[in-house]
């Protein structure tokens, strides 16, 4: 299925890739295309710098939801599509989840007041990934949108966001913690007792260092989550099913070595997780323009001259070299995992993409597909 078909008919699209490749811009321009195709699309980003908002030329205060004006208008024609941009509020999303699954209002307040929860719900890496998927699930469930596009957090460990719900659910599984929490537990085995003692020792050391009650907080935290585990587990299974059945993955990269290596790794991991990887977007490539037979040799000869025309040809060669490097690196890095994938190329524009017009430019170039990439 082509990217255009995905945007026209898909329900959930996840954009992933390493940091700094322009993932947010790619997510936004994909959303723009979907809106141009007449769909109601939400693009959700995790972005403390609010770059997406900036790139759309919108300043938002006090809200996490913005409707992008005229997103569905193409050549003066309104397709009827709508584009909504959301900033993920990790803590608020987590709070909502707690409110949903906690057995009583009192328990909700206990959890909200717990120091460990306050920390985990806002700052721990992994929570952000977890909440991104939770938000995706929540948005999908509202039925307000035809398509939801998720711009994943720039996580250092490529697919943390896929395993985050499971890992979090596992941590919250208090049954596995009884041996730590309950000193009188007759778990019996010597090694368990030793671990318990060791764990307490580390915990008490932390308490000592920070003058806090880490261990007490911990116990309170898990007592509070006791009984909510099943809810969390079901939810995380549902998220996974949604991604496998209704989701499509797009990997974004730039043609530099580091992002390409990460993209290749990401692609193999998506395969392992049986997640439907559908397209690859290579952002900010330099267009390689010269053919080997006649143009390149001609330009090389001309560039020898030290006059104005010689310098112009030098600029041309320099540009062509960049494109060649981009092409070679990209092919070498992705050949193994990207055989049956559709490639989409976005050139490095001479101006930054900083408004809706810029985003439109990205969208139209991207949708040209592989034929318009470097050759």
């Amino acid at each position: 299925m082509s990217l255009e078909q995905l945007l026209g008919h898909g329900e959930v699209l996840v954009v992933c890739g390493s940091g700094g490749v322009g993932k947010t811009t790619i997510s936004a321009s994909l959303a723009l295309k979907a809106a141009q195709l007449g769909r109601k699309v939400a693009v959700c980003t995790i972005d403390p710098a609010r770059r997406l908002a900036d790139s759309l030329g919108i300043v938002i205060e006090g809200t996490d939801l913005v409707q992008v004006k005229d997103a569905g208008v193409v050549d003066g024609q309104d397709s009827g599509g709508e584009m909504t941009a959301l900033m993920l509020d990790t803590k608020r999303t987590f709070d909502k989840l707690v409110e949903k699954y906690a057995p009583s209002e009192e328990m909700v307040q206990t959890i909200f007041g717990n120091a460990l929860y306050q920390r985990i719900s806002s700052q721990v890496s992994g929570t952000q990934e977890y909440m991104a998927l939770e938000k995706l699930y929540e948005l999908h469930g509202t039925g307000h949108y035809d398509l939801i596009i998720l711009d994943t957090p720039p996580t250092r460990h490529a697919l943390d966001f896929l395993t985050a719900p499971e890992r979090m659910a596992r941590v919250l599984d208090s049954s596995s913690l009884q041996w730590i929490l309950n000193p009188s537990s007759s778990a019996g085995k010597m090694s368990f007792k030793l671990i318990k003692t060791g764990f307490r020792k580390v915990a008490h050391k932390l308490d000592e260092i920070f003058g806090m009650k880490v261990f007490n907080d911990l116990i309170e935290f898990f007592r509070a989550f006791d009984g909510m585990y099943d809810g969390f587990k079901d939810r995380s299974a549902a998220v996974k099913t949604l991604l496998q059945n209704k989701g499509s993955f797009v990997v974004a990269t730039s043609p530099e070595q580091n992002p390409l290596d990460e993209a290749a790794y990401l692609m193999s991991q998506l395969n392992n997780f049986r997640m439907p990887l559908k397209a690859l977007v290579i952002n900010r490539y330099h267009h390689s323009v010269l053919n080997e037979q006649s143009q390149r040799p001609f330009a090389e000869e001309k560039a020898q001259e030290s006059d104005a025309i010689g310098r112009c040809f030098k600029a041309l060669l320099a540009y062509d070299d960049l494109g060649r490097g981009d092409r070679q690196r990209t092919q070498a890095a992705l050949a193994k995992h990207g055989k049956d994938l559709d490639y989409y190329w976005v050139p490095r524009f001479s101006q930054d993409v900083s408004d809706l017009a810029g985003l439109r430019r990205v969208t139209s170039r991207m949708m040209l597909g592989d034929n318009h990439g470097p050759h």
């Binding site: 985990i120 090694s191 030793l194 920070f210 580091n258 143009q295 025309i309 930054d352």
Partner: protein, 313 residues
Amino acid sequence: MSLPEKRLIIVGGKGGVGKSVIAAAVALLAARQGKKTLLLGVDTLDRFDALLGYQGEEKSLKIVEDNLYSTILNPKSVANDFIETHVPIRTLSKKIANSGLFKYWFEATPMLSELLMLGKIWKLVTETKRRSAEPVWDCIVVEAPATGHSLGLLGASETAAQLLVGPMRSKADEITAMLRDPELCNLIITTLAEEMPVAEALELQKLATQKLGMTIGAIVINAIYPKILQDKDADALSAVSKEAYPEGLSDALENAVQYSTERRARAEHFRDVIRNETQHCVELPFLLSEKFGREQIEELADLLSKPGSGRVV
């Protein structure tokens, strides 16, 4: 001014601006000046092997060449260190370290991993040789995590000091003093001559000096697109006959000239923004090469070694 002149050099900046490249080039330069140098990545992917053309054993401390070593610090490694210190039985400490619970709990304790990583850097900086008071490391080049994270890291000791008591507090104070000592520690901010990296670099400069009391060694503008064309070259091009050119070349040439001109103009603009904001601006050219490895790092190290480097680009 020579870049690697302090014992502790912290290289910061936005993700994707080439922090690891600059850190590697500064470290290589320091090693060449005869200093025993450690290149230390904090919570980063280990790209130093590829950049420095080093292939050797997978060890925690790698010997790149004479005088040059590299290693990576991350929350996991310092967490393991921490547990091993307090739970000396190895099988036991391993079990605790590997439990998912511990990971969350460790991350959930405010600033713990940052503080432990800073503590490790402090230890490396203050470590002395067995038989003399001389430091083990003449130069430690730290590749810091991307801006937001590095502010968290570099501010951890100061913030933590407010919570801590006793010996831990004086340790945190010592770490803060190390970071603030202009004779010992410098922050090198790396940026590209582009809008968002420049904005982040200036933000980092402001916060690091005003809030953290650190000294900025330099702002390195990395990968400035070169001035290939003179101002009138485009005019000369449009005046010349292109009849003899192979088909399609005329358009390609025009596009490339336009691209080159615009990209250079933008680079100059953002370079000037930085120049206006700092006395210590180091400018490095965009290397027009297809690959990036040892050869390019050496080229950058050479450029860094020349006083006033880069003003020509």
